[in-house]
């Protein structure tokens, strides 16, 4: 087995470009909110914290790059972190709700979001599982049922928080990995059919999700009520035009757009950087995805193959969902834009994925 011990610098470059765009836009989007919340002298509050997490996540990423990935392919490790994540998800459910949700475990200076870390752990778990059972992928009882049970447990706990966006991401990433494992098209069709009534039931089950769904379909019907976020996001992006208003000149972040530095940071990018900036960011993600799939394509082992696909999907699917929400292509979900949005858990989890991909890129031929 010939090993090139150099990681994919293009992939690293794309990730870093996205992170830098993220830092700039976090500052632009959050400076005013920061001064409102923490006093006029503190416009860098969110930027400083994001930088701190970037250093921590970056360090973790560098460590991941240089550790032999077979250590993570070890089942004892995988089941340990899986157990830890499940425990954390359960603990989060008993935390005092923030914004009506149980997504966080409040530590001293940091709110840990277990669902963010559930994503890479699920990827690891599936990579190991599928690598071992690829040849029996179409067996319902021995392969798909156990796999589905674990997935349902993780996604179910995340749904309980509730965090529909992250749960969807987890399911989509897992589906992609199973699909890559060669599952028969008739099974794909079968599961799709099964998922439709389940999805409908879920969507209609929770009132807030129903509202969001319908306003997504027609945000202008209720621009001041349920369609407010969607409408404000569209106004922000639409105002940007081709070249945008310029960094720092956006107005929608002045409390019109909720969460301008987290879930709706893409709207601010569209407003301030225009179509040019938005396309640059999307291209960077697309490039990252291509390089990620390329790692899978040239991987030497099945675990690496599935892990590379999983981590690539984890970043790209979540990015697409987030951007689609900002553009009113999907119903509104509380989902960060990976590597860009403000938030420690999200950034560190994303950097773990990037670090894992870079690690795997060294192993590929």
């Amino acid at each position: 087995m010939s090993k090139k011990l150099s990681y994919d610098t293009w992939l690293f470059g794309a990730a870093m470009l996205i992170v830098v765009i993220g830092l700039v836009m976090i500052y632009s989007a959050s400076a005013i909110i920061a001064t409102q919340k923490f006093g006029a002298g503190n416009p860098y509050y969110f930027l400083t914290r994001q930088c701190t997490w970037l250093i921590a996540g970056g360090a973790l990423m560098v460590v991941l790059m240089h550790v032999d990935f077979h250590r993570f392919a070890d089942r004892r490790f995988i089941y340990t972190v899986m157990g830890g994540v499940l425990l954390a998800l359960i603990v989060a459910l008993f935390e005092t709700p923030i914004n009506g949700t149980h997504r966080w475990i409040v530590l001293r200076h940091f709110q840990l979001q277990p669902s963010e870390f559930a994503k890479p752990v699920v990827v690891l778990f599936l990579a190991d599982y599928l690598a071992r059972r690829e040849d029996r992928i179409n067996e319902l009882t021995t392969t798909l049922l156990p796999l589905g049970s674990v997935l349902a447990l993780v996604a179910g706990l995340i749904l309980l928080e509730p965090d529909f966006g992250t749960a969807t991401t987890v399911v989509l990433v897992a589906a992609g990995m199973v699909f890559a494992a060669g599952i028969a098209w008739r099974r794909v069709a079968l599961f799709s059919l099964a998922l439709i009534p389940a999805g409908v039931a879920l969507v209609l089950g929770a009132a807030y999700r129903r509202d969001r769904l319908f306003t997504f379909l027609n945000p202008e019907a209720d621009p001041l009520g349920k369609g407010f976020q969607a409408m404000q996001s569209l106004i922000a992006v639409g105002t940007g035009g081709l070249r945008g208003l310029g960094i720092g000149n956006g107005r929608q972040k002045l409390f019109f757009l909720p969460e301008p530095h987290t879930d709706f940071i893409f709207s601010i990018i569209g407003e301030e950087l225009g179509l040019v900036g938005a396309l640059l960011l999307i291209s960077a993600f697309a490039f990252l995805a291509w390089r990620g799939f390329r790692v899978a394509r040239y991987s030497q082992e099945r675990f690496a193959f599935f892990a590379a696909i999983g981590f690539t999907l984890m970043i790209s699917v979540q990015a697409l969902i987030n951007i689609s929400v900002a553009l009113c292509l999907l119903p509104t979900k509380g989902l960060p834009l990976p590597l860009v949005s403000y938030g420690g858990s999200s950034l560190i989890a994303s950097l773990i994925a990037v670090g894992a991909l870079l690690n795997l890129s060294q192993q590929s031929s």
């Binding site: 569209l234 081709l242 107005r251 899978a296 697409l320 689609s324």
Partner: protein
């Protein structure tokens, strides 16, 4: 290709398709629908706030404030926020200075809306007390309140403003565009929390405060006038009245009173009728004061002379089947025209009017400005009513000669009197002197109409003597002053009613000017429906006297019937100096540089003015200057000497001769030319012997 690679490509294709949709959507939002979202963004992000300017002041000629804007606070409430409307209303109503009752306020606070006024424009201390109540949902707005510090003074001229600061009457209305100022507009970048975030827009969008209007009105004269008018109204239990004091030299209105009046601070408490300015908005039949017009026309056209004897018969004049009577059933028989005016004989006056004929008489009426707005900058001015000759009845010519069948405003009549006072030149009345900005710079000055000559200076001089006689010995004796010569005419008119005249409702008036030979004031007093007397000479003339006396004293006009002592040193005498009469100046526009016209001045004033002009004075006699050498307008003599001829008899009297006009005119300064160059204490050559006779010697 292995299955794995195929699946990888399919996944990538799925993501690429998704990304393609996203990019397409981006192009749609950012390029195709960009303008639409831009409009939506601006609509929600920007708000234009109107900055209200401070309304300018209205001041009198000496800068005394008559109307000003003072800081005030308005109280409004959001009924949705007010928790206990009943308790809040009770607390608010208990604050002294809030007029509304607790019930009224509670009704407002219980209304469904999100905004109600609780009280508008409260004085700051009252607002402070409301603030102390700390009622949730009650808010304050800084505003300005219009204040009229002198209350009713000149209220009918100044007018009033509505609660939103719009001028509704008077100067407040006619000069609203100046006084109001310009509202500023500021574009505020808002955030979603409705707090202003960034303020843009400077310069042209800033509010411009209103300009200040300076009136020709003098508060003191206005007060004097209102007081005198009000006394006359009270004394004779009249329904109302009006009075005008005007400077004939330039048409400045010094006072304009209209009673009953109102307090513009709370105009709503007064009946709307009291808001009117009768001087310009109402017309009346002037009666005998209009004989000034008849006389002017008659004298100018030569159809009558002052000494001409007219047959006034037994006090009845028949035109067709109609009879016109003298006032009070008098019959004068054969009297001179001067006596016709003195006694206000209707039959004498109408004969002059008839002699003129409709067209000539009508022309003079129009030349005096009747039937046409004066153009004074006050709202609601009426043109009066002067019918064209083709609409006249058989009676009209005669009726109009005695001031009936014609509708005039007090201002029009005052202007006509001023024309005579001014030596025959009509000057348009003006009430606004100028509009100034905060730095005192004039930003607007009303254009002055060119003076128009209506009658010759000669005719004016003759009429002047007649009007002096009216006051000296005629119906106007109650207007006479101790130290000034007054010229004027009384008026007693029946109130016109449908189909005739009211038998018991009269308008008593007096129109005149003073000092007669160098007029400073034209005063018209009109008293409506006096009940204890009907005669202008009884009701209005004393008010005229009161106004004239106090005003002349206030203005420091030297007496024309002088004190005899000349003991004052020249330097002090300079203080008595008087402005020269402006009649000539008004006509020609030139400023005289030669010997000043000292005629009509008393010794002190004449000496003061002559000294000021650099002349050495030699005064002969005592009293008022009758003539001077050199005469007015000549170049200053080389020896700088001027000889003044003074006499106690103030009036160059009328000639009884039938060609009266020429001698009278000649009297005024021409009689002593022969003395030029002589030295010594010789008096001037006695004037035409006829002039030494007392005026009206041929009459009764």
């Amino acid at each position: 290709m292995s299955t794995s690679h195929k699946r990888l490509l399919q996944i990538f294709a799925f993501l690429a398709a998704w990304a393609f949709i996203v990019v397409a959507r981006l192009v749609q939002i950012q390029i195709v629908r960009h303008d639409e979202y831009m409009v939506r963004a601006l609509r929600q992000q920007e708000r234009t706030i109107t900055l209200t300017p401070v309304r300018g002041s209205i001041m009198d000629a000496r800068g005394r404030v008559l109307a000003e804007s003072i800081s005030a606070e308005s109280v409004y409430a959001d009924p949705q926020v007010v928790a206990d409307a009943k308790a809040a209303a009770k607390a608010l109503a208990a604050v002294p200075g809030i007029d509304a009752t607790a019930k009224e306020i509670e009704e407002k606070l219980s209304s469904g809306g999100g905004f109600v006024w609780v009280a508008r424009q409260l004085p700051l201390p009252v607002a402070a007390r409301v603030r102390q109540l700390k009622i949730n949902g009650v808010y304050f707005l800084e505003e300005h309140r219009r204040s009229y510090p002198r209350g009713t003074l000149a209220a009918n001229v100044i007018g009033y403003v509505g609660v939103d600061g719009q001028g509704l009457a008077g100067i407040e209305h006619s000069f609203d565009s100046y006084v109001r100022g310009h509202a500023g507009k500021v574009t505020v970048l808002r955030d979603a929390r409705r707090g202003a975030y960034l303020v843009g827009a400077e310069g042209a969008n800033r509010p411009a405060d209103g300009k200040d209007v300076v009136l020709t009105i003098d508060s003191v004269i206005q007060f004097i006038t209102e007081r005198a008018l009000s006394r006359a109204i009270e004394k004779y239990r009249a329904s109302g009245g009006s009075a005008i004091v005007m400077d004939p030299r330039d048409g400045s209105i010094l006072a304009m009173a209209s009673l009953p009046t109102f307090d513009p601070n709370r105009f709503g408490d007064f009946p709307p009728a009291s808001w009117r300015n009768r001087n310009v908005q109402d017309m009346y039949e002037p009666g005998s004061t209009f004989k000034i017009v008849t006389a002017s026309a008659g004298l100018e056209e030569g159809v009558v002379t002052p000494s001409q004897i007219l047959d006034c018969g037994d006090g009845t004049f028949q035109i067709g089947n109609n009879f016109i009577h003298e006032h009070g059933g008098n019959h004068y028989g054969l009297i001179s025209f001067e006596e016709v005016m003195m006694h206000s004989s209707n039959i004498g006056a109408l004969q002059v009017g008839l002699a003129l004929g409709p067209q000539r008489f009508y022309d003079y009426i129009r030349r005096f400005g009747f039937g046409k707005r004066t153009g004074i900058q006050l709202p609601g001015e009426t043109a009066g009513l002067v019918r064209r000759t083709d609409k006249w009845s058989a009676l009209s010519n005669a009726e109009m000669s005695i001031g009936q069948e014609v509708g005039v405003t007090p201002l029009q009549l005052a202007r006509a009197v001023a024309t005579v006072a001014n030596g025959g030149v009509r000057v348009e009345p003006r009430i606004v002197d100028r509009v100034i900005d905060a730095e005192g710079q004039t930003v607007y000055q009303p254009q002055r109409a060119a003076p128009v000559r209506v009658i010759s200076e000669k005719t004016a001089a003759v009429l002047n003597e007649i009007l002096k006689a009216v006051v000296a010995r005629g119906t106007g004796v109650n207007a006479a002053l101790a130290d000034q010569i007054v010229a004027g005419k009384t008026g007693t008119a029946q109130v016109a009613m449908r189909g005739g005249y009211s038998p018991d409702r009269f308008i008593a008036s007096f129109a005149g000017y003073v000092p007669a030979d160098r007029p400073r004031l034209v005063i018209l007093v009109v008293v409506d429906e006096p009940r204890l007397s009907q005669y202008g000479g009884t009701v209005a003339a004393p008010a005229f006297r009161e106004i004239a006396e106090a005003t002349l004293r206030y203005l420091g006009v030297a007496p024309s019937i002088p004190a005899r002592s000349l003991a004052l040193p020249v330097a002090q005498l300079a203080a008595f100096s008087q402005e020269p009469a402006h009649s000539e100046r008004a006509v020609s526009g030139e400023v005289r540089t030669g010997v000043p016209d000292l005629r009509g001045l008393d010794a002190r004033a004449a000496i003061a003015r002559a000294t000021a002009a650099g002349l050495l004075v030699r005064a002969v006699g005592s009293g008022v200057v009758q003539s001077q050498i050199p005469i007015a307008g000549e170049a200053l003599p080389t020896d700088r000497r001027i000889v003044l001829n003074l006499s106690l008899d103030p009036a160059p009297a009328m000639s009884p001769s039938s060609t009266a006009v020429a001698p009278v005119a000649r009297l005024r300064g021409y009689a002593v030319t022969r003395l030029r160059g002589e030295r010594g204490s010789e008096t001037a050559e006695p004037r035409n012997p006829a002039t030494a006779l007392p005026a009206g010697a041929g009459g009764r």
